[in-house]
């Protein structure tokens, strides 16, 4: 394609052709020029910018700028890490532009349409362009209204076609026909539904576009600005309280919340993808077992990282190598694991020491002394998820590090969190004396996530119920009565959405009437005990009065009361 020719054609058509069309051409041009010559690119950029000046659409300009920027930097083509799209400046640049909210859906539809095929990095970066490409071919002759409509659809949070497919997966929707003009009317209807969201989105778009300076100067300058932009955009994105996402909630979806059990059952039914390859991966890792043993004995400790649950791998290691020796398995992902319980199991089960310690450091000192005295003592410690919520603390890490630095304690641990290495400073690292092993397994985190309080999973509450009964059983009859009173009151008000809790004075009144307490001091003492066991929560209302609340969901509470009644 010769440049003057293309230029002429564009100049002729610029009034009539919709923005997208122009953009498409520009994109093609820049794409070609990058391969040819950089100086030429600069020229063409300038020329196109000039030509576009009479087009008032800010959005188009913004996209153009972004495109040229990415192309000129060549970031999409050459990336030293090979990490492609995710690290390129282009993506960073387009962070939280208004189109952002729809991109997920766009990418999804794109991925869905190309089964078995891959999507080129360019496409994933600007999916709106590719999604539009077929439309534009068909609609170049049609009127502008339709195009506008189409464009709106792109901006909407979730395109109609996606929504429809989810509720009733219809094979006909898979076909090309969804791009035909007939569909656009349905889209129009759909548009009304989300129009409120749209208006909220388009205003920031305009202001943002206006604030960005027009493309100018040389590329070198842009390059310099890159870092500054990045920083600024980060803070821009995090300073605004406005969040540009759709307002839809799971409740509207009429999807019942799955509980842990059904989730588990359902996942069992779903076949594990790529089981053969995962097995192959695991076998590769298992070949390292003897090497790990050697290195553990030479004073190193081993830490495993990489995507996928490493629990099975460590378990395999334990059963195949450590059967004969003393070992301790710590399930770090377990929500109630504590440092004390780890130390206790060492002192009680391994060292057979009966007695308590004042503080973890004391206990550690004792352990260190014991291990130094008796050189025949050896202990393997396996920690699943050393970076878990409960073991993350500075103090527990320090003590674990000191434990692991003992020559006869061999530690092998796994980490999963992306920021896990930040847990350790130089001092701890030198105590741990890690050797890192990448063990990407791709196995699902079944055990590890079962305790995670996922938003999507309904809490069964079985844990809370059992703890309630356990604690209550150890209390006096009066105390149980007090708790019952509170629970009953809370259940009575369960349908009241503005129920803040029972105020202390009211509660005291009720307790007196039921002959449960004789002074507010005794009641306060009782409440303190409850609070220590996390049975109740107190909240100060707007009027300064203390309100008492049981932080358990209603069904659990009802179950609990039922059980209590049975007992009595």
């Amino acid at each position: 394609m010769s440049r003057p020719g293309g230029q002429g054609r564009d100049a002729l058509e610029v009034k009539f052709v919709p923005d997208e069309e122009v953009l498409k051409h520009i994109a093609e041009y820049t794409g070609m020029k990058v391969q040819k010559n950089k100086t030429q690119l600069v020229g063409s950029v300038k020329r196109f910018v000039k030509k576009l000046e009479n087009i008032s659409d800010d959005e188009a300009q913004e996209i153009l700028e972004e495109k040229n920027y990415v192309a000129a930097l060549g970031l999409c083509t050459q990336d030293p890490m090979g990490n492609g799209s995710s690290v390129s400046g282009g993506e960073v640049y387009s962070f939280q532009t208004p189109k952002r909210s729809s991109k997920m859906a766009e990418l999804a539809s794109e991925l869905a349409q190309t089964p078995g095929q891959s999507v080129a990095p360019d496409h994933s970066k600007c999916p709106d362009k590719t999604a539009k490409a077929p439309q534009n071919n068909k609609h170049t002759s049609s009127d502008k209204v339709l195009q506008r409509n189409k464009k709106k659809e792109i901006v909407s949070t979730t395109p109609y076609r996606l929504r429809k497919r989810l509720t009733a997966p219809d094979p006909y929707l898979e076909s090309e026909s969804e791009y035909s003009a007939s569909c656009s009317e349905e889209d129009e209807e759909d548009q009304k539904e989300v129009s409120t969201v749209l208006s909220g989105q388009e205003t920031p778009a305009k202001t943002k576009a206006a604030s960005t300076p027009p493309p100018r100067n040389t590329l070198a300058k842009k390059n310099k600005n890159k870092m500054g932009n990045l920083v600024e955009e980060y803070f821009e994105a995090h300073s605004s309280s406005k969040v540009l996402t759709s307002d839809r909630t799971l409740q509207k979806l009429r999807k019942r919340r799955l509980n842990q059990q059904t989730l588990h059952d359902l996942l069992k039914k779903a076949p594990l993808a790529y089981a053969a390859e995962i097995k192959e991966l695991n076998q590769q890792h298992e070949r390292l077992f003897s090497k790990w043993m050697l290195q553990l004995h030479l004073g190193f400790n081993i830490v495993l990282y990489g995507l996928g649950s490493k629990r099975d791998l460590l378990e395999k290691f334990r059963t195949s190598v450590l059967q004969e020796s003393v070992h301790l398995v710590v399930n770090g992902y377990f929500p109630s694991i504590t440092l004390r319980s780890i130390l206790n199991s060492i002192t009680e089960d391994v060292l057979n020491h009966i007695g308590t310690f004042r503080s973890p450091p004391d206990q550690l000192e004792f352990i260190i002394k014991k291990f130094k005295e008796d050189s025949s003592l050896e202990l393997y410690v396996l920690i699943h998820n050393l970076d878990s919520q409960m073991l993350r603390g500075e103090r527990s890490q320090q003590i674990l590090a000191q434990l692991s630095s003992l020559p006869s304690i061999y530690l092998i641990a796994s980490i999963d969190h992306i920021n896990a290495p930040l847990l350790w400073d130089q001092a701890k690292l030198s105590l741990y004396n890690w050797l890192w092993y990448e063990t990407t397994t791709f196995s699902p985190y079944v055990e590890e996530t079962s305790y995670e309080n996922s938003l999507l999973v309904q809490q069964s509450g079985s844990l809370a119920l059992s703890s309630l009964t356990h604690v209550l059983r150890s209390l006096t009859l009066n105390a149980r009565g007090i708790f019952r009173l509170l629970a009953q009151y809370q259940l009575k008000n369960k349908d009241n959405p503005s129920y803040a809790g029972l105020s202390f004075q009211d509660f005291y009144q009720q307790c007196r009437e039921a002959f449960l307490v004789n002074s507010d001091l005794t009641l306060r003492a009782q409440l303190t005990e409850f609070r220590d066991h996390k049975l109740i929560r107190t909240k100060r209302g707007a009027d300064g009065v203390e309100y008492l609340l049981i932080p358990v969901d209603d069904s659990t509470l009802a179950d609990f009361l039922e059980k209590e009644d049975e007992d009595i």
Binding site: M81, G82, N83, G84, S86, V87, E91, V92, S101, M104, A108, S109, L111, A112, Q113, T114, P115, G116, S118, V119, A120, P121, S124, T157, T158, R165, P169, D170, P171, E174, L230, L244, T245, D247, R248, Q251, K252, L253, L263, L266, L267, Y274, L281, K291, L298, Y305, G306, L307, D416, H417, I418, N419, P421, S430, L435, W436, F442, Y445, L455, V457
Partner: protein, 617 residues
């Protein structure tokens, strides 16, 4: 008055424990048995400080006179009130004791100490102590200095001025301060490299890349000599684990014996070595056949080659040191200031082909005489002390150079005369035109002038050094059987010592094909197929979102992708069932992402999660 000492040290943290431990050991052996090591994090208040201090001192006490009073100490340790008086009582008790009831055994052990040994208290990290605690302790102890001779040692990471900014004048005036500077970690590293790597007696060697990785970790990450040693240990483990011919990596005598008793398989291993193959190819055909088929002949040759290698190392190291003498004198240090840099350069490839070597030779040709002479003398010393036998000639040659330099002394006078006369000529003629002319002439003559004798000699010396380098500093990987001694797989080191967990996660999520070798997953760089594992798809989708992610949108996008991947055959009959399963898979993937730390639940909006990463990765 409490007499105090201050140790100054750099930024490096991990080695400090070691330094202090060895310091206290030295003190314990030579000066006093009473040493306490205190750390800031154990001493938030003066009471804790005293507790810790007394605890440690009492423990010392147990160690010194064995078990007889253990019960007493055990009790006192728990019961005793932590005050200066009790400390003084304890001190009096322990110092008097050897005089009154001296078992002979104890006397010998304590005779190395003074009559009343001082109590040494080491503050490991002075900057982190709260000023109040330090002040109180110093003021209190200064009042008891007559009963309790106390020496305080402060570890300071910043400048020594800190002691004056931390302590007010009335406190610091109670101290008698003396400053000691500890060696920088780089010096320690040089010592280690010198003692471990640059010794022919130690057969295990590091390849160039490996050494570079270790030094880079040291210089750019932690400055920790401990970690350097750890890396070195790992190298040894890996070498002996992964390289089957490493059985021969031992002292020459043992290696010869072992070479004699090699099994057939081991011989095959030797034949497989690339360097050995090159050697075989360079031989005549009968020898080739013998080497490849006859084990006994192979063993014989191996022994010979091992000996060659040993001799090569001995020579190599002496010449390396000699070259270092030269290069470390040059301005701007084109080949590096430290011997480790020079060593790396020589290990990598033929050093005489590099530009840096060329320029350093140029510079060496411009050295003045006195420098040159001192260098030659140093070289002579190195060669004389080296164990290599081939250097007799070299030493003689160098000595000859030295005598020639001495002879030049007289001739130097004459040369001076010449230069003086030409200078005089310059001063005589003041005419501008003539001045210009003479200057030009002078320049001409200087250019065309024959080299002076000194310059000729200097050239000769440099050329001689050059020939030594070319002879002896052949890179190790040109040597046959170098695989036995050299550990070369730097990637292993980087993987295990300097891992990048985040990049591994990122690759696994973005490009699962790297791990799961399934054709369906194969895709271009940076993109992803829709048949990828669930978590990869969910991750990829979430990358398209801003700070908050709507779970419903996410779920829909996910199910679109998954259904698209499964194709149209997922018909309406089982749609409900399928839907549930997809929902469950989505939940799993999202909670996995949560576990990995990419998202977290957000209360800002219902059914939203917050993204925790931004931009790349």
């Amino acid at each position: 008055m409490a007499s105090d000492q201050i140790r100054n040290k750099g930024v490096n943290v991990t080695d400090h424990d070691l330094t202090f431990r060895s310091l206290s050991e030295v003190l314990q052996n030579n000066i006093t048995p009473y040493i306490a090591l205190l750390e800031a994090k154990d001493c938030p208040g003066i009471k804790n400080l005293m507790q810790k201090l007394m605890g440690q001192l009492m423990n010392c006490y147990i160690d010194v006179d064995s078990s007889e009073d253990e019960d007493y100490v055990q009790v006192s340790h728990n019961r005793i009130r932590c005050s200066m008086t009790s400390l003084i009582n304890w001190y009096e008790h322990v110092t008097k004791k050897p005089d009154s009831e001296t078992p002979s055994k104890k006397r010998t052990s304590s005779s190395r100490h003074w009559q009343s040994p001082p109590v040494v208290v080491v503050f490991k990290d002075m900057e982190s102590f709260s000023t109040k605690v330090l002040q109180d302790f110093i003021v209190i102890s200064s009042q008891h200095i007559h009963e309790l001779p106390l020496v305080l040692i402060f570890g300071i990471a910043t400048s020594p001025m800190i002691i004056h900014s931390l302590l007010p004048h009335f406190v610091s005036s109670l101290l008698c301060i003396e400053l000691f500077q500890s060696l920088s970690c780089k010096d320690h590293l040089s010592t280690i490299i010198d003692k471990l790597l640059l010794r022919a007696s130690f057969p295990f060697k590091l390849g160039e890349k490996v050494l570079q990785v270790l030094i880079n970790i040291f210089l750019y990450h932690d400055f920790s000599v401990q970690n350097f040693i750890k890396g070195f240990q790992l190298c040894i483990v890996e070498h002996f684990c992964s390289q089957p011919v490493s059985v021969l990596c031992c002292q020459l005598v043992d290696a010869k014996k072992r070479a004699d008793s090699l099994s057939h398989d081991q011989c095959e291993n030797i034949r497989k070595l690339p360097s050995f193959r090159r050697y075989v190819e360079s031989q005549v055909s009968e020898k080739q056949i013998a080497l490849l088929t006859v084990d006994t002949y192979l063993k014989e040759i191996t022994q010979k080659l091992l000996e060659d290698l040993h001799v090569y190392h001995e020579n190599y190291l002496s010449v390396l040191r000699c070259l270092h003498v030269f290069t470390s004198f040059l301005p701007k240090y084109p080949l590096g200031k430290q011997i480790r840099e020079l060593y790396c350069a020589c290990l990598e490839n033929q050093v005489w082909e590099t530009e840096e070597y060329e320029s350093s030779l140029q510079l060496a040709r411009m050295l003045n005489k006195s420098d040159l002479v001192t260098m030659l003398q140093q070289c002579v010393e190195i060669f004389v002390s080296s164990s290599g036998k081939e250097f007799d000639n070299t030493v003689e040659k160098l000595k000859e150079f030295l005598t020639q330099f001495q002879k030049l002394e007289e001739e130097a006078f004459q040369e001076q005369d010449v230069s003086v006369s030409s200078q005089k000529e310059l001063q005589k003629k003041t005419d501008l035109y003539h001045l210009q002319k003479t200057l030009l002439e002078l320049k001409e003559s200087r250019r065309s002038k024959k080299l002076t004798k000194f310059e000729m000699l200097r050239f000769e010396v440099v050329d001689y050094i050059d020939s030594l380098v070319r002879n002896y500093l052949v890179p190790a990987n040109h040597k046959t059987l170098h695989e036995i001694m050299y550990f070369n797989t730097a990637s292993v080191l980087r993987e295990h010592l300097n891992a990048a967990p985040r990049i591994a996660l990122h690759t696994a999520l973005n490009n699962p094909y790297r791990y799961l070798k399934n054709q369906a997953l194969k895709s271009d760089e940076g993109s992803i197929s829709n048949k990828a594992p669930d978590i990869c798809i969910v991750y990829k989708l979430h990358l398209e979102c801003g700070r908050l992610i709507n779970l419903v949108d996410w779920l829909e996008a996910f199910s679109t992708v998954v259904m698209g991947a499964e194709g149209p055959n997922a018909d309406a009959a089982s749609s409900d069932q399928v839907d549930d399963i997809i929902h469950a898979r989505f939940i799993r993937a999202v909670s996995e992402l949560e576990l990995l730390g990419f998202i977290k639940p957000s209360k800002q909006k219902t059914d939203h999660v917050a993204r925790l990463t931004w931009g790349g990765c």
